[in-house]
């Protein structure tokens, strides 16, 4: 089976959980022998792992015919793409895009991030997708998150192949209810055109059904998983201070993640004990507000903001922690608690997180219940048996949540969609 996937991020250059999930899912699916995946991203860097799928950079797909030499093309895009593909794609330019801002190869540039002119990039992405869909051969289109829904719809209309969309988050999660009407419109349009909708949790599925008015029969839940930790990360020796416990929050410091509840809970814990440190790693629009809140509560000496972390740093930070906490107000899935559990860190998550649906060996509290959260932090830090139990059993549990199983589930949905499609 050949699948054309549209995504926005792909490791190692990622900005959020979407890239990690895209990687894990495609890797898990590639375990099936007859699975052939082509993954489109706005801007490849050349160091992506292409061993199990083919990556097409949308910034290297011509939309305007330019007469260029093989050597020149090879020089420009050769490190991540076969120049022949450029010429094949060039054969399928479907309209005159000369009015657009294109470069010397006739391609549109992408930032590959989430810039201010995001809507323009989404639109460009969709234009380019038309060329790709005309040139590529595939049985199924799979779009990850709302940024790529228009591209998916376009590809579906060009090719007549079924479209599956993957909802990693909805705007209701990002905005605590104050949705952006443009984003909502794109999301809703994508869902309406999709032949099947996969959601990363039952929580998201309910949002899709009730807020986007989708038929429950075409919406299913496909929980995320985690990739096993590479050897070099497993070998990290945590740097721990004796007699001191570290409680870590790791993520964007923004409304959706509920950072203020963490600060309040920390203040409660510190009223009683002093040998616990709190770390809020990450950056975001609420960071300054959180710094001043911690100061207001008089706990700034025990509450630290190390800033944004990436790659190995994340795991170093996790491994040095005694408790990981994710008090998200609304989390479609939330892969980071799984990563913490992989590192053997006892984890506290909010009941409003999608991953709470598949995790048992962690403590779940309501995000607003700072008393329960403080109690749980205190309990893990003072009772060695609870710490040990969550550490050992949590790791065992999360080691069984693998992408391969997710891949099989996605495959069953594909088969179902194809068997029902246009009949």
């Amino acid at each position: 089976m050949k699948v054309l996937m549209f995504g926005w991020e792909f490791p190692p250059h990622i900005l959020g959980g979407l890239g990690t999930a895209s990687y894990g899912l495609t890797k898990g699916m590639s375990q099936q022998e007859d699975m052939d995946i082509t993954f489109c991203i706005p801007k490849p860097w050349g160091d992506e792992d292409q061993s199990f799928l083919k990556i097409i950079g949308m910034n290297s797909v011509p939309v305007v015919w330019r007469d260029v030499q093989w050597d020149y093309v090879n020089n420009r895009v050769g490190n991540y793409m076969n120049p022949q593909l450029y010429y094949d794609l060039r054969e399928h330019i479907y309209a005159d895009f000369n009015y657009m801002n294109t470069n010397d190869l006739g391609c549109i540039d992408f930032s590959g991030r989430y810039p201010d002119n995001l809507h323009e990039e989404i639109n460009n992405y969709s234009i380019v997708a038309g060329v790709v869909a005309r040139q590529q051969e595939f049985d199924m289109i799979h779009s990850h998150d709302w940024l790529t829904y228009p591209a998916g719809i376009h590809a579906k209309q060009v090719s007549g192949k079924p479209l599956v969309i993957h909802v990693h988050a909805t705007d209701f999660d990002r905005s605590r209810g104050n949705v952006n009407p443009t984003v909502y419109a794109i999301e809703k349009n994508g869902m309406d055109h999709a032949d099947h909708i996969m959601c990363v949790s039952e929580l998201t599925r309910q949002t899709v059904i009730h807020k986007y008015f989708q038929d429950p029969r075409k919406v299913s839940t496909v929980h995320n998983a985690v990739s096993p930790l590479p050897q070099e990360i497993q070998e990290i020796v945590p740097h721990k201070i004796p007699n001191e416990k570290v409680v870590t929050f790791l993520g964007r410091i923004t409304m959706q993640k509920g950072p203020e509840y963490f600060v309040e809970a920390a203040a409660m814990v510190l009223q009683r004990t002093r040998n616990i440190r709190f770390v809020m790693a990450g950056s975001g629009d609420m960071m300054n507000a959180m710094i001043s809140l911690a100061a207001q509560r008089g706990i700034a000496d025990r509450f630290h903001f190390p800033g944004f972390m990436k790659g190995k740093q994340v795991y170093e930070c996790l491994k040095a922690s005694d408790v990981y906490i994710m008090p998200s107000v609304s989390e479609p899935f939330g892969i980071s608690p799984l990563e913490a559990m992989q590192c053997g860190v006892p984890t506290i998550i909010s009941k409003q997180s999608g991953c709470a649906e598949i995790l048992d060996k962690c403590i779940k509290t309501d995000y607003w219940d700072i008393h329960a959260m403080a109690d749980a932090i205190y309990s893990i830090c003072t009772n060695p048996s609870l710490y040990e139990y969550l550490k050992v059993e949590g790791k065992k549990e999360v080691d069984n949540i693998v992408w391969e199983k997710v891949g099989l589930k996605v495959r069953r949905i594909y088969d179902q969609v194809i068997s029902r499609y246009r009949k």
Binding site: M268, Q271, R272, I363, K364, H371, A372, A374, D375, A376, Y378, S379, T382, N383, P384, S385, L386, E388, Y389, L390, E393
Partner: protein, 464 residues
């Protein structure tokens, strides 16, 4: 002739309230009064009162033919006294029929039998006295919390003077043997063991109202046919369950009480009678000993103690709790003693289980084992610090005990000496009044001086 031994357990836990760690050291009241009142009343109304009324009816209408055994945990008794005294009255009424035997059990319904011999003995004897005081009969047969039994426990129970003990007829212990005989403890042949027939017991308390069960609906005569159909030599059929199975686990709408009511009549038709545990212990001889090296219980498929002590959290809580058992035993603070009883209840540990069980487990106010553990440990933290505040922590328990004994003995000694002083002073007064011989006068002041010395000690030792 076959005989049925019917036994019901009455136990309800004292519910702990939501206790956050910031309450440690400031709040020493651990109980959810509202929930306790509500739940005990619910159980009383839905189960205990109708079930006991049925048992009284059965006892009255069948003369001395029908017999039943009951045991009540001390904590349940306290709650019934406060919130549902009607149940106690019914128990008295049942007791007055003369058909009911009360068994002894640990006061707290706790796991002290697995932890601390002294503490176990104390609460069993306390419960025995309480039963004697309320119902006027001294229990001769013992049942442990959740029928926990092992060889070691058997030896301790025998040493307390019980003739018999009831426990689970667990398959892994019995093997090819049948639970329908009387056995004895391998440590002490004087302690007879009655083993629960879990199949026949669970037919009533677990499956009775289950419409998917192939024997549904179960009628009294079918049930009695099963018993009558057992081999001739198998004489004792032990049917043990919680009293709240009648009405709570099996709703009254399933007519379970009518089923129960019909049992004596259909048993009589088949020549089967009823006996109390102590009758069986005195009438029947043991056919052999039972070896139970590891503790068993009547809970879960495994019939062991893993539902209370199966994971590290439960074991930590258990060890922390019984780590201060000796201190609690030494002290005489009534509130601490009372909290000790309530905190020991095995249900508190059951809430922390992480086992998958096919019998639905209600965790009460807790939504996960971790929550239950956290709450309990917070309370325990406060309790332990209260106990430690009584006496210096760095002092050895033995040393403390000997000091406390010394203080107690000194008190006794002082009383005795004071008496002597009084006696002698009276004598002296007599002598002063009468003209006496010189020798006697010489003797008394010498003695007086000696007694005065020890009397001087009095204020010092009281300060201690």
């Amino acid at each position: 002739m076959k005989t049925i031994c019917l036994y019901f357990e009455i136990h309800q836990i004292i519910h702990l309230k939501r206790y956050r760690f910031f309450n440690i050291g400031t709040d020493h009241y651990y109980y959810d009064d509202y929930e306790n009142e509500r739940s005990i009343n619910e159980v009383a109304e839905r189960s205990y009162i109708p079930a006991l009324n049925t048992l009284i009816d059965m006892a009255k209408s069948n003369g001395k033919y029908f017999k039943v055994a009951l045991s009540i945990s001390g904590v349940a008794l306290e709650q019934l006294e406060i919130h549902a005294p009607g149940v106690i009255e019914l128990l008295h009424e049942l007791n007055d029929t003369g058909c009911c035997e009360f068994l002894a059990e640990p006061y707290s319904h706790g796991l002290s039998s697995l932890a601390n011999e002294e503490c176990f003995r104390e609460e069993v004897l306390r419960m025995r006295d309480k039963i004697k005081q309320i119902f006027g009969q001294t229990p001769k047969v013992f049942r442990n919390s959740s029928l926990i039994y092992s060889d070691e426990i058997g030896a301790q129970v025998a040493a307390m003077g019980f003739k018999g003990m009831i426990t689970e007829g667990a398959k892994h212990i019995l093997g090819w043997k049948s639970p329908h005989y009387v056995y004895h403890c391998n440590q002490n042949p004087n302690l007879k063991l009655l083993l629960r027939d879990f199949k026949l017991s669970d037919d009533i308390c677990l499956r009775f109202s289950n419409s998917e069960w192939e024997a549904y609906p179960l009628f009294a005569d079918t049930y009695m046919d099963w018993i009558a159909g057992l081999p001739e030599e198998e004489q004792v059929i032990n049917i043990f369950m919680e009293l709240c199975a009648l009405g709570m686990s099996q709703p009254l709408s399933s007519n379970i009480l009518d089923f129960l009511k019909a049992l004596p009549a259909v048993a009589k038709e088949r020549g089967i009678n009823f006996s109390t545990p102590s009758e069986i212990c005195s009438k029947l001889k043991s056919v052999g000993q039972i070896d139970v090296p590891d503790p068993l219980s009547w809970v879960d498929e495994e019939r062991d103690i893993s539902c209370w002590l199966g994971n590290v959290m439960q074991r930590e809580a258990f060890n922390k709790l019984y780590g201060i058992a000796e201190r609690v035993h030494l002290c005489s603070d009534r509130r601490i003693k009372q909290d000790w009883d309530y905190l020991q209840a095995s249900n508190n540990f059951r809430f922390m289980t992480t086992k998958q069980s096919n019998v639905g487990l209600s965790r009460g106010i807790y939504d996960s084992p971790y929550d239950a553990f956290t709450n309990y440990m917070n309370i325990l933290g406060d309790f332990i610090s209260r106990v430690n505040a009584l006496y210096p922590v760095d002092m050895d328990n033995e040393e403390l005990n000997s000091l406390l004994t010394t203080i107690r003995n000194q008190g006794d000694e002082l009383v005795a000496l004071n008496k002597e002083v009084d006696k002698l002073q009276a004598k002296l007064a007599k002598y002063d009044n009468k003209p006496v011989r010189e020798e006697a006068v010489k003797k008394t002041p010498a003695k007086k001086r000696g007694t005065k010395k020890s009397a001087d000690k009095k204020p010092i030792s009281e300060k201690k």
